[in-house]
Symmetry: C2
């Protein structure tokens, strides 16, 4: 993407930076959108975050993340709903239009049961999302996270849940890192259509040294990021392209140089 007006960066991508630092550097580098991770609220209130972004002319793209609905018992599931309602309040206060859902899984809980609890959890928080004019998106996670992070591991499953609950405020997030391997991806992107509420990019490194924090910049791995982007846009998506990278390697680097590489990678490979 030559034009950076639709480029968004996740605050987690430059984790060593405070929100204030991230906002300052993103704006200076030409990034126009920010997806805020909830850990920033440990030091900045949602309202203060909203002001910071507005003052810098940055759009708030989404809040990451709600979800984690399944639990071993009813008490755990109730706590999860409470936490999701808190996330909705935070999103509303900071003016985020979308809350991304990482749906959750509990080691040992059968996946079919986790999937039922996920659908129930989403249904339980949808009215609160609608009341706040917020959208929710189901983000399928790579199957290597099925044990403990999400029992929704393909776009087909996310589409199934979204179609079943059939609510205008509910859609999906397409993240190339989680979905690139899926032989059914092209079809499922078309099926999701305008229910694609957000789009995340990074790359799959070879070798991948860590299951959680070894993502690459687009162009550094084997994901056809540009091809997937064109499919998502052909399906009707016209929102931000969000760079979401967890990387011990990049977090150890001066984040200003890393941001330069993010920009160069977006221009050349997204």
């Amino acid at each position: 993407m030559e034009d950076l007006s639709r480029l968004c960066v996740h605050t987690i991508t430059t984790r060593p930076w405070s929100l204030a630092e991230a906002v300052e550097h993103y704006a200076r580098a030409g990034v126009r959108g920010v997806t805020v991770w909830r850990d920033v609220f440990e030091t900045v209130s949602p309202k203060a975050a909203r002001r910071m972004l507005a003052d810098a002319g940055l759009s708030i793209v989404s809040l990451c993340r709600g979800g984690f609905f399944p639990a071993a018992d009813a008490e755990g599931r109730r706590k999860s709903i409470d936490d999701n309602l808190r996330a909705l309040d935070q999103a509303a206060e900071m003016g985020a239009p979308l809350v991304v859902l990482v749906c959750g899984a509990v080691p040992g809980l059968p996946l079919a049961e986790a999937r039922r609890q996920i659908a129930d959890g989403i249904a339980a928080v949808l009215p609160a999302a609608e009341a706040r004019s917020l959208r929710l998106s189901v983000e399928p996670l790579h199957p290597m996270y099925a044990a403990d992070r999400s029992a929704i591991n393909t776009l087909a499953q996310a589409n199934d849940v979204v179609e079943r609950l059939n609510h205008p405020n509910l859609g999906v997030t397409v993240d190339v890192y989680h979905l690139w391997w899926d032989p059914d991806l092209e079809q499922q992107i078309a099926r999701a259509g305008r229910r694609i509420f957000s789009f995340h990019v990074s790359d799959w490194r070879v070798p991948t040294r860590d299951l959680l924090s070894d993502r690459g910049l687009p162009g550094e791995g084997c994901i056809p990021v540009r091809q997937i982007r064109s499919r998502v846009e052909a399906a009707g998506f016209d929102g931000f392209v969000e760079v979401e990278i967890f990387s011990d390697h990049y977090w150890a680097m001066d984040q200003r140089f890393f941001l330069d590489r993010i920009i160069a990678s977006a221009r050349a490979h997204v």
Copy 2:
């Protein structure tokens, strides 16, 4: 499984042991089948291996592994075919009835192209397998190996290839580690039916510390091994249950204690 008469162990599972050591200890522990990995041929000929197993009263279940068909150029694909033919010769010499195929992938080669090359490669070696009365099985690998080990990542894809090539000597291998997360697994096991030629077990640890060598023993993780086994058998499979574990943790242990744990795990959790 209380009855160990269908328990098989892969030589790679107890990698520190020579084939002679493995055969001696497996037989003493009541293991009845062995799947041999080709690295043993660095020190033992297929014929010598055959004798060792026969003398100990052990069945040879399969040879691991052929495959790795995709390559960047025609020369690479030709070499891969040659290597697969060598594997077939080794299997025939050692009396292995089955060669398991890890189908391959090349970082940067589009997955759709890799999948075409895989189908072509299997088609190219099937006549040689038939001539040697050998069976071949397509083993789908977990999506986290899509970049560099196999572009066949679901049982649905394996079934597709096998049905398309439609040859009595071609089937699938079901490995719980690769497939447990798949929402479509039950259906695809039923679809594979008697084309399930082999069945591998291990477990998915939480957390998984390494993408390659951190598998657990059945019971140590979150895979419903016994449930998947019952589905595979309901589909008509009645062969060996094969313990295939790559684990830096277990390879560092005295392999006699590890083998005791394999037996205990098989009895309690398979």
